[in-house]
Symmetry: C2
Subunit: 330 residues, 2 copies
């Protein structure tokens, strides 16, 4: 294993120190592992807090800032943040209008965010939750009861975050987040495994001509192994799986996401195929992102996330955002 | 070799089709391989054209848009664009105030941009050139007489592009680009080689515990092989090489760049080390980027680019930009 790290036990804190130094718009509590907006809580605004295991950067800390999250709680690599950490973040950013937790559906995350919500209630902070479970690949998995949460997390954080900036109440912000999740589906394909710093070896083995269809973002198994096909063939597998679960009609928001080790030139080849597929199926992309947003360390591969848009969702997607990883319109 | 491609011979055109579909702000001539701003040339503005081999995305096409390039000319993977292609782009974007070519110092690029400039002169289009040669690792190399052009290319394109938007004349825009290059230095480290689609195997071999110090962006050799050290040790090698060549005093602009296959969490660990080094040496970063900007396909590793700032350069760096890969302030 060769990695740009100082110490396998200090990866998360060393990276948080770098994040703090690189982004004056963030305030990073390295010791307690919470990333805040430097501007602090805004009175009367619903606060948004997310978090989860590290190793998926820029998710979540890269989405802290105006128009998205108020705080992010990174856990150890592929490990949930702890309840105290989440509760501390939630009470610190509370502006009196309640807090929305955006939680990817993994057993540890769900449990720890629940316990954090109880701690918040003890402190008089109202918490609502959006559970993200957009990955159509498997119904239950190694770390999940029900579907896994992947790329749609970014859509939920952006759109609920934009609504929160308007001063909308907690119930409405939560409902928008749930609507985005309900309208979104994802599917991922791995060309290679990832290697965690602590394990020092790949999380699984893939043959030289083999890919994993329906991969999870922690290297957990997907639906099946298959021979490595062309970008067109692999994209079609992903899109067929999505289309089988989400009625495609009307304009869409699309994320073609790199898993961390895939060159951008390849992601654009995949995007061309996704775009053509959606147009053929009467669901042309109206908005899209192409790049590394919800990664799995150094894994090579991609995922596609499709959200069936409404006019309201387009408007909230287009609203200004200013975070390390998403920035426009302000 | 597993890659998200349809055909090793069609990688560049397939990716350009994806780029066209993904970015309505671009107009992509897939057949002639030129990426333009969709808005077309602006009368009276100096036009900026860059280009080079593909495989370094988002460089250059990802920097086409308001505040940066008017057009980019991608060649085949790691292969220069041809003179006709560059000349066509230059005449198409000419707004009557001349055109600046931003050229990375590789023999093929230099020659082909020179021939293109001659073709432009025949058409009555005045061309000036900024040659980027910021890489301190080697004095001559496999593909270069003199130093290689790497990360500073992005700084030159941003700052000269911002000045061009103000209506500054060609000589002034070119001078600003040359000043940025003169004030910038880079050094790269590879943890792994890259694999081109046509070769189908790694461009070189590195032992399991070995890194290449001073790597080029095409996998060409650097200064030396060395045992893989910590992020701190590898960063110090890079920074010492830069500091030996660029007097460090006053505020700096810093790029911590991933080579394509390195997780973002590792780049932030490197950034923390770079930031600390520059502060210790009296050259604190005032502006910075952390991410994949000048890549080498799927290579794992990083490069650091440091530019010694002036007030004018800060102002031009901060000016609005709206491209696929850089976007702020507008």
């Amino acid at each position: 294993m060769k990695k740009l790290i100082n110490d396998a036990g200090a990866v998360v804190t060393d990276a948080l120190a770098g994040l703090a130094a690189a982004h004056p718009g963030l305030r990073v509590d390295v010791e307690n592992r919470v990333v805040y907006r430097a501007s602090g809580p805004r009175q009367g605004k619903v606060g948004l807090v997310s978090g989860g295991g590290s190793g998926h950067e820029p998710l979540h800390a890269g989405f802290v800032g105006y128009g998205m999250l108020d705080a992010a709680c990174p856990g150890e690599i592929f490990t949930s943040p702890v309840p105290d950490q989440i509760a501390e973040a939630s009470t610190a950013i509370h502006g009196g209008a309640g807090v929305l937790h955006v939680v990817k559906n993994y057993t540890g995350d769900v449990l720890n965010f629940e316990m954090a919500a109880d701690l918040c209630a003890d402190d008089g902070v109202e918490v609502a939750r959006v559970l993200v479970d957009d990955d159509v690949a498997v119904s239950d998995s190694l770390y999940t009861a029900g579907r896994r949460g992947t790329g749609a997390t970014l859509f939920v954080e952006k759109i609920a975050g934009a609504l929160a900036e308007t001063g909308a109440p907690l119930a409405e912000v939560a409902a928008a987040g749930r609507e985005v999740n309900a309208r979104s589906r994802s599917f991922g394909v791995a060309l290679s495994p990832c290697t965690t710093p602590s394990a020092g070896k790949p999380t699984f083995e893939l043959g030289p001509g083999e890919v994993e269809l329906g991969i999870g973002i922690h290297g957990e198994p997907g639906r099946t192994r298959a021979p490595a096909g062309t970008a067109r063939e692999l994209t079609r597998v992903a899109m067929d799986a999505i289309a089988a679960d989400l009625p495609l009609s009307g304009e869409t928001l699309v994320l073609v996401n790199g898993m961390g080790g895939t060159p951008l030139i390849e992601l654009y080849i995949v995007y061309a195929e996704v775009d053509a597929y959606l147009r053929e199926h009467g669901a042309p992309p109206a908005r899209r992102l192409v790049g590394d947003y919800v990664t799995s360390l150094d894994m090579q591969g991609f995922s596609v996330t499709v959200c069936a848009l409404t006019d309201d969702l387009v408007r909230l997607w287009d609203a200004p955002v200013e975070t390390p990883a998403l920035r426009w319109g302000r």
